[in-house]
Amino acid sequence: MGFKKVLLLLTAVAGLSFSADKIVLKKPPASLDKYYPPASNKFEFLSNMHAMSTARTGITVNINEGNWEKALYWAKELKKIYVETSKMVPEWKDYFKPQLADNLIKAVESKNVDKVIEASRKFLQTCAKCHQDNELAVKLTYRFPSFEKIKIEDPVEFMEYETGKYMKAMTDSMKAMKIYLMQGEGDKAQEAGLNFVERARQLRTMCAKCHTNKLSEEVIVGKDYEEALAKLEELLSAEKPNKDDIFKTLGSITVSCTKCHNVHIMPAMVREAFGK
């Protein structure tokens, strides 16, 4: 019975993190940078989060089995990592209340389940508060690639562009193709369209910067994408390009754009807004 109460409480507090009508994303402090790539590949801050989560579960598991000694070990372990973590990001030190970790230790020492529940609730609220304020922003900042540093060589101009500029050049050539087709200017549509095809093919080089195993590349810019680009090339080279067929083929190409954007564009926008 006691264990169930502890478990319920812990779950409820963890679930509080994102139950809000409005989410405000705050730019993570610069002092956090040193615990994530490219400054470090050890993810020290995240590792501490995992270690605290494990310690917290250690308390619950052992209380459930009536093993108060081991529960006490984990409570002390939790406090140790909690204090260590509180010193890692000075801007966040006020989120931490080491006294509440001490209270949790005392509650476990008392072997009184109700006291543990109460001490846990208060202690975990300090975690929840920080998570609510920062977790989403931190994940978006550090767990997604930094597109602004990626440069792609434009296959039409032979110049290196940053991602945003490259995307603009590519979509501009696509839009120009559409406009010329709608205006009935086939030759100009062909030129703009072929430039679009080349730029769309070269996009793959951007994926390869991170996706070294090629599988995720295949999902997004794989066979279907390549075939659609080849078809577009073919249609554009006809004596009189068929607008409807071209637009239809364009539709199957943009499926890949959507797939990639669904994964990457929102974190990229957040990162850009933060100037990270």
Partner: protein, 304 residues
């Protein structure tokens, strides 16, 4: 007195532990490549000119691996042990040595230096190993290029081109030990990133298509696993009505637009009657900024 050398020889030959008398223990403890240069000075100097030497310290790699935090890239740039087909694990020590001497030649299983030659080497155990002459030795890291090469069904191995023969040479340059060794057939440890010859790329003009075929390099052109070497095709076109146009194409390993061996690649040209096309093909290596001209050709319709 004349018996003394004979007696000494007999004494030495009778010693069961002779093999271990001259062992230099640190050579079996994965030393840095500089240590190998104590004897193999020439090979060391060749290797220092290679991309294998720069594999870890290259600024390009440091930037692309985001300051060595893209961990999945690291093991091929500082491998612990290179074996056929197997992706290596990351070496712990002397990472700055890149693809070092011990990475390729020292095997944990035998605690010996492996290589393609049969040698007598008192300072360290040596084992002749013919896997060093086969392309699959390179396949653990150069996976994509190996797959491309295999599709060509060409007999020439990676080593045939990228470890060219240097004829017979001394393996060691350390007095007086070099006097006890015969010269052996040696291959270059510079691992040259060869440049395609003009005749390796066939260029044809057929109507409004420019057709490029890699007829001489038995893997994609360009090729890479993670780097992105490029070919630049610039065609200056002259039309019957006097118009002139320039068409540019970028072919790269990562965009899957590289020239496959003996597989024609069509480049569509603008509409109109083309009377002449002046085509230039350049390459840019993944770690270089400069483009180098490979081929320049002027074509007329119909293609000569």
């Amino acid at each position: 007195m004349r018996l003394l050398p004979l007696l000494l020889s007999l004494l030495i030959l009778s010693c069961e532990k002779l093999e271990t008398v001259f062992i230099e223990e640190d050579l079996l403890e994965r030393p840095p490549s500089k240590r190998c240069s104590d004897c193999h000075a020439q090979i060391f100097e060749e290797w220092k000119k290679s991309r294998h030497f720069h594999a870890w310290t290259s600024e390009q790699f440091r930037v692309e691996s985001e300051n060595y935090t893209k961990t999945k890239c690291l093991s091929c740039h500082a491998p612990h042990q290179v074996d056929p087909y197997k992706k290596p694990t990351l070496r712990v020590e002397f990472k700055e040595d890149g693809v070092s001497c011990v990475a390729c030649h020292f095997k944990e299983e035998t605690r010996a230096m492996h290589g393609p030659l049969k040698v007598w080497s008192p300072p360290h155990p040596s084992k002749q190993d013919f896997s060093y002459t086969k392309s699959n030795f390179c396949a653990g890291c150069h996976q994509e290029t190996y797959k491309e090469w295999k599709l060509t069904k060409v007999e020439k191995t990676c080593q045939s081109c990228h470890m060219p023969s240097l004829g017979k040479r001394d393996l060691i340059q350390k007095f007086p030990f070099e006097l006890f060794h015969l010269a052996k057939p040696r291959t270059s440890h510079e691992f040259p990133s060869l440049k395609a010859k003009p005749e390796d790329i066939k260029v044809e003009l057929k109507g409004n298509k420019l057709i490029l075929t890699n007829v001489g390099v038995p893997h994609n052109l360009p090729t890479a696993d993670q780097g992105n070497p490029k070919l630049y095709v610039v065609a200056e076109l002259e039309f019957e009505d006097g118009r002139r146009r320039t068409v540019r194409k970028l072919l790269s390993a990562q965009s899957k637009t590289a020239l496959r061996y003996k597989e024609p690649k069509e480049i569509r040209l603008p509409k109109g009657n083309i009377v002449q096309a002046q085509v230039k093909i350049y390459r840019k290596l993944a770690w270089k900024k400069e483009r180098e001209l490979i081929k320049e050709v002027t074509l007329q319709t119909p293609s000569p």
